[in-house]
């Protein structure tokens, strides 16, 4: 039931730094890039489908997301408050504290139901159903 990959994306990275950051990202397993670049490079290499979940007003939208196995799910925090994506039952790695406009991505390789919440605002709950 382990998801295979996860990483962060911070929006509004200056373009001149993208190359450097991508190299760094590959080296350390954490990828920093704009979403457009990320999606393009991902689909070119492995045809990974990406689904977005927006965090706004202390809620996940959509709260329940159904995806095929292998989908990369990207949460983006649109709140002024930080949030932390945390798997109920530790089925995937927790994010760090996501500030405004920060993103966090997890690729779900195995079918199952993945409940998650914000560890600092635990009334915020969501579910990923991987088929």
């Amino acid at each position: 039931m382990k998801a295979i990959a996860h990483g962060y994306a911070r929006l509004h990275v200056p373009r001149w730094r993208l190359g450097t950051l991508l190299v760094m990202g590959v080296l350390c397993g954490v990828i920093l890039a704009s979403p457009a670049v990320m999606a393009a490079s991902a689909s070119a290499s492995r045809k990974v489908q990406t689904q977005q979940i927006e965090i706004r007003n202390f809620a996940f939208a959509p709260a329940t997301l159904t995806v095929p196995a292998g989908t990369r799910v990207v949460w983006t925090n649109q709140d002024e408050e930080p949030h932390v994506i945390t798997s109920a039952g530790s089925l995937f790695a927790s994010s760090k504290g996501l500030d405004t406009s920060d993103s966090y991505a997890v690729t779900f390789s195995k079918p199952g139901t993945y409940a998650y919440y914000c560890s600092i605002h635990p009334m915020m709950v969501g579910t990923i159903i991987v088929q």
Partner: protein, 313 residues
Amino acid sequence: MQNHDNEAGNRRQFLKCMAWAGAGTLWLMKGGVLRAQAFGDGATTASMADASFSFAQISDSHIGFHKEPNMDVVGTLRASVALVNAQAARPDFLLHTGDLTHLSKPEEFDTLAGVMQDSHTRKVFYVPGEHDVIGDNGAEFFRRFGERQRAGGWYSFDHRGVHFVGLINVLNLKAGGLGSLGAEQLAWLKKDLAGLSAETPLVVFAHMPLWPLYPPWGWGTDDSTEAMSYLRRFGSVSVLNGHIHQIQQKVEGNITFYTARSTAYPQPTPGVGPGPGPMKEVAPGALHHYLGIRDVRHVQGRQALAVTEEVLS
């Protein structure tokens, strides 16, 4: 920030802080009645005369936050500390009820500690907010600001006949839940209070409200009812919280609950708007109306504790 307006901007910020410095909230405990009035009010000095001691509460500094409505949370915290320092009678200690930082970053903790060093009071007691325990379950917070180097971090102390209890309700939060004290802390609290006479005044403080203030926004603590059951036999209990960045209060028998304002930014009234978070639409120059600190004075008295409050803005 690298333009010629910089200096003017700083001056505006300074003036804003000055305006705020005339508009704090002061808590007085007199003859068993807790009462609020403005810092800097002329009546303050006279009110002090029959108080046995005082302490000041500040909360929700959110060092690291840098958006509307407050681009300078360090400046407003500094102004809070200056306001406390300006009191004629120095409070015995300061109480910070959590969310020192916005993102639990070491440099944010550094900044907070630096500003607090400007305080003339000898001692600052802290409890963490959920913003202070991100990523490490509070390890960094407890290392720097923990009162007791022990698992959990909760503690109590006695000061001039009043028993103070600092509780931690921002760790090990469960999906779908609110703040949490946990079985281990509750057992400790029960034991901590067991030896005290019912006449001992209690002040209990924690970051998240210890009453179901507005659960849809997470403003409450799952197991607070159990904790309150240990407090009911006492004649005078004050519960001080932060978290919601505004003053709310409630009286339940001999237990009186208060939430404090933030030194950083206001949040909306419960249920107003789509969710909690910073109120961005604060009129220029009006921010100080929403921020504050409180100063609590204690007077030995025979009456049961009651509460009145005046908020000046």
